[in-house]
Symmetry: C2
Subunit: 316 residues, 2 copies
């Protein structure tokens, strides 16, 4: 899943819209830098970590990427008035977890990918054993960063909530379940219901967790948190449909990757299963529902509205 880049060649974007998104794009770039630098700083070498393991962990974590999950978390927390190192650490923990899943998914026994973000995958550089161990260590470190929030002054009740959210999002009823479901199905025979369940688990659950952890770090009330969690589901769905559509209609330049790959590989995607028009319609519905949930928030978070519009505008 990639965050679509703003492209000046997109005919559907009016100059007024572009103006609007410029502020958001600058925010996204700024927060991406913040997350990159936090990860870089908190993953320093230590005499108590075997050096090669440390290198393997850093290699994948510091390989770039849009940092969508941490940014979502930050945007929510900031929208509720919270910022600072603890919020940033919680956000960065999400990136560790995401990265661990990429390392393990790329392994020969799973997706057997040689390249990730244009660089050789972890097992290609460090060997399979080290890639498995680096993934394990990143899962553990992700939880460690959340547990250690109490050392940064976060109340234990809040820290434990972030852990409850993340543990339930990634395990056998979340991210790992999604990967297993994906592995178990031949891409050519997946129906819509299965596709949706795979996405909900494999990528949706962690995106929702990012929003919900942001809500907890921002001190959201019960109603706020519930609305934001549901918003997290919708934005996860929107991301996925937009990503699938862009593979069909996008240009290599705007995508940052070769389009049409999903179609050539006969991958189960929204356009492949529903047709392009219906896929667009579903993206529109997901966007509307996401915006509706935001409208119900007792304290508005304009940044999330912008972000939702931004994700959607490329396939509009």
């Amino acid at each position: 899943m990639t965050l679509p880049k703003q492209s000046s060649s997109s005919p559907a974007v009016t100059s007024e819209k572009k103006q609007t998104f410029r502020g958001l794009e600058s925010y996204l770039a700024d927060r991406q830098k913040l997350v990159d630098s936090a990860l870089d700083q908190w993953l320093l070498p230590s005499s108590t970590v075997p050096q090669r393991l440390h290198e393997a962990m850093r290699y994948s974590v510091c390989a770039g990427g849009k940092r969508i999950r941490p940014i979502l978390c930050l945007a929510v927390a900031e929208g509720l008035g919270a910022s600072g190192d603890a919020v940033c650490k919680a956000a960065a923990a999400l990136e560790l977890m995401h990265t661990s899943s990429l390392i393990h998914d790329d392994l020969p026994a799973l997706d057997n990918d040689d390249l990730r973000r244009g660089r050789p995958t972890s097992h290609k550089v460090f060997g399979e054993a080290m890639a498995i161990m680096a993934g394990d260590a990143l899962i553990m470190l992700s939880f460690q960063w959340l547990a250690d929030l109490v050392l940064m002054g976060v109340p234990a009740e809040q820290a434990i909530e972030t852990l409850r959210i993340l543990t339930s999002a990634v395990g056998n009823q979340g991210m790992v379940a999604g990967q297993v479901l994906d592995l178990q199905h031949d891409q050519r025979s997946i129906d819509l219901e299965t596709l949706q369940q795979i996405h909900r688990w494999k990528t949706g659950a962690l995106l929702r967790a990012a929003v919900e952890i942001g809500a907890v770090m921002g001190g959201a009330g019960t109603e706020e948190r519930q609305l934001l969690a549901r918003f997290g589901d919708k934005i996860g769905l929107l991301f996925q449909i937009v990503d699938d559509i862009l593979d069909v209609v996008g240009t290599a330049e705007s995508l940052g990757k070769t389009p049409g790959k999903d179609q050539r590989e006969q991958k189960a995607t929204y356009p492949n299963l529903l047709g392009l028009d219906e896929a667009r319609q579903r993206a529109q519905t997901a966007k509307s529902e996401a915006l509706q949930l935001l409208a119900e928030l007792p304290r508005p978070i304009p940044r999330l509205r912008e972000l939702t519009e931004y994700i959607h505008h490329r396939v509009n």
Copy 2:
């Protein structure tokens, strides 16, 4: 690492000692049953977990084993006056983590073991991809059980402490670091210092965590917790030395496995590196230091004293 079985043929055990250990052995058997049944009950199939993933997780968790880590945790908590479902769940979480490490260590890219506890290893039965995913899911579930302690009435401060202990024991400065160090060294060229570091990380850290989580669940004060943590280190060391010695002097009947395997494989062990006499001496020292720490406890925990004597008596 195996808990040495009591053998009636051991000449060093007086009938008085045997009398003493009978109570302990009945305690161990009882707690093992408790942990087995807790794991069985809490790992029920669910419509929201892919069935095959669930089977893979249960296959390894419910494969028997002495349940040493949970029992250590229970013994400490009970010694401090705590028991019940929450204590049992924290204890059982340790077994999930231990099992995840066995599944991943057995993988072809790591130790490439076909058998574990007399049964085919996870990847032999479920395939490598599923074994990797089952290990990941068990790591996550282990933390989830600790985070969910708050749902069982455990204060958030206590639950977060158990998470801080476990996360720091298993990651890139603990269990995983030990596995990496082990992989990086040719068994025939390991020196004593490296051997000790591998054990401290690979098996010692989780045993210490088991004791320390028991202390937290039992509401230990700062001094109690520190003493018990140090006791955890000593008992981990004792376990390891005894295990190594038994490979040399034990009989198949008393070991439950073929002795002499370490020597044939030229594995780095305490007897191989130090000679049998010096290894025995180190076991004696570890036992004495463990007992000394227990003697300093403000509230004595006789069960831990018995357990320490019990582990040691076979190589006495």
